[in-house]
């Protein structure tokens, strides 16, 4: 069994690591948008792993081993050791050599072109400490799915070594802004391989994945005001599902995908309503004269968390999914917004304003412990990964809007911030791609 080693604490300084080393020509994709890992604070225990360059990966056009390295590093659980050398899945590793490099585990693989133009991608995982072969896989994929193959390998390695499901083959959605051009992008969880789901000259906000990952709802201002749309991710077919008088916004799917919660101002003040995904069967579930907005369902579908300023300032409340008397949940600080629930329903992530600083914060719902996760001051829109181990959010750094992922202890963060583009409104997609 691979043990996480005990590492003496590092001095609390920040190290920036490039998530893998590549020749510039290895990337065919035009938008080289990689998350850059920052490790801050005292280093936790991390599992050291070697991931050698896959045989013939250069010929495949994708830096497969680099993608796997970057994925595992961004999870915060792994540390990459010196991985130089020529190996593949058929190698017989020199365990002594790898122990000497400090590795507890080793991954090696290959990518061979098949006669039909697809690629045969193979890998194997070894426990270096015990000197054991932990097995591997072969995946046959078309060229367009090579990145996904690397992500699936990272997931398999992550799962084998931690026991938890990996999120590297999931997708995220976010909005970019360049001058007056807004794009809703859907990409791999590492920010790469993106496709534009919607291009617009007007703002797009609040994207929300359906639980099956097949649809995405969002708010578009293309008609001159806020309207909620639902779009099929694969086909791009879309329809406006909430276009009432005033503003229509903040879509949130129920876990069974059968209901959407939205914020509508049609009755004169922003209130929360439920509707079917086609826009029918509208019913109002909050009854205040205040602002009630940002609904989000609990994973069991029975309750909705939301933001209300009925008490004088925006705080987070919880109400039964059928309506009823809401119960206040946040009591620390005078401004708490943007609730997001962990997949196990036990942790609430949100944005707290303290003075002029907006920071992603978590609240343990059972025990009440509050933890500030970020060291930036303009955070927005936290969203959990479907395994509950990472949170993605938007923030501001060096004058630009950027995306960050963080581990739940706030120690390992990764930043997505290529030049010239503003990133905002990230939302993590579900398992099951």
């Amino acid at each position: 069994m691979v043990r996480a080693p005990e590492i003496s604490p590092h001095s609390p300084r920040r190290r920036h690591l490039l998530a893998g080393v590549f020749a510039a020509g290895a990337f065919p994709s035009a938008l080289r948008a990689q998350f850059r890992v920052e490790i801050s604070g005292v280093g936790g225990t991390q599992l050291p792993v070697g991931i050698t360059k896959f045989r013939e990966e250069d010929k495949s056009g994708q830096a497969l081993s680099g993608i796997v390295r970057a994925d595992l590093e961004r999870s915060g659980i792994f540390r990459i050791v010196d991985s130089s050398g020529d190996f593949d899945e058929n190698a017989r590793p020199n365990y002594g050599d790898w122990r000497g490099r400090g590795a507890d585990a080793l991954v090696a693989g290959s990518a061979a072109r098949l006669a039909d133009g697809r690629f045969d991608v193979r890998y194997k995982l070894w426990d270096v400490v015990k000197g054991q072969d932990l097995g591997g896989q072969a995946l046959a994929v078309v060229s367009a799915d090579l990145r996904l193959a690397a992500h699936r390998i990272a997931d398999a390695v992550y799962e084998k070594l931690t026991g938890d499901k990996g999120v590297f083959s999931t997708r995220i959605a976010y909005v970019t802004r360049v001058a007056n051009r807004y794009t809703l992008r859907i990409t791999d969880a590492d920010g790469e391989g993106g496709q534009a789901a919607l291009n617009s000259t007007q703002p797009i906000i609040s994207p929300a994945w359906s639980p099956d990952g097949k649809s995405i709802a969002y708010v578009s201002f293309e008609s001159g005001k806020a309207v909620v749309w639902a779009q099929d991710v694969g086909s791009g077919e879309r329809r406006a599902i909430a276009n009432f008088r005033g503003s229509n916004s903040a879509p949130a799917w129920s876990p069974d995908g059968k209901t959407l919660a939205v914020t509508l101002s049609r009755d004169g003040t922003s209130q929360i309503y439920l509707m079917d995904p086609n826009g029918g069967n509208l019913r109002r579930i909050t009854q205040s004269t205040a602002i009630d907005t940002e609904p989000t369902f609990t994973p069991d579908g029975k309750s909705i968390y939301f933001v209300s300023d009925r008490g004088g300032s925006p705080q987070i409340y919880r109400v039964g999914a059928g309506g009823g008397n809401p119960e206040r949940v946040t009591f620390t600080g005078g401004y708490n917004i943007s609730p997001a629930l962990s997949p196990d329903g036990r942790t609430l992530a949100y944005v707290n304003r303290n003075g002029s600083e907006f920071k992603v914060t978590t609240l343990d719902l059972a025990g009440g412990t509050i933890r500030t996760l970020s060291d930036t001051v303009d955070d927005e829109s936290p969203s959990f990964a479907p395994n509950g181990k990472l949170i993605i959010y938007a923030t501001r750094a060096q004058g630009r809007d950027v995306l960050m992922t963080t581990t739940l202890d706030g120690r390992i963060r990764a930043r997505l911030a290529p030049a010239g583009v503003d990133y905002r409104e990230p939302i993590w997609g579900p398992f099951g791609r």
């Binding site: 001159g224 806020a226 008088r245 004169g268 922003s270 940002e294 300023d309 401004y335 907006f358 409104e425």
Partner: protein
Amino acid sequence: MTHPLRLTLFAALIGVGLAGCGSSVKLDEGAPVVDAKPNAAGANANANRGANTGQSSVTTVDASKIDAAAAGVGRVVYFDFDSYVLKDEFRPVIEGNARMLSSAKTKKMVVEGHTDERGGREYNLALGQRRAEAVVKSLVLLGAADNQLEAVSFGKERPVTDGHDESAWAKNRRAELKDR
């Protein structure tokens, strides 16, 4: 020259108008209350009141040509931080637009509410909506018909200026009145 009775009436109307949207809460306890001072950015000259006309003359109103800019009526009102209270200095803007709307019942307008950049997007969308609703309520109280107006919000998505200081934020906290 300000007629004292008129000022009182307007203040009363604002009070009545806001009763419909709940208590006018101060959302940031630390925010200073800014005194409303005449501000060139918002308060334009009053719209032309009825000029002295003889007993036999008739004033023609051409609905198709009503043009706010030509009539000298302002189209923007500004707000204090975390507030949707309509300040006295923008009374002429509300009055002028209400007059235009009540004299031309087919004319339609949209009121767009905005916030500064600080804070979450959805909450700011709702704050901007509150500002627009406050303006619409005042217009209706002064003679416009409800079906001539729609209140919408852009939250913090459409700033007029990109600065990150109070002078920029003040310019972005606004409601704009636009023809439809």
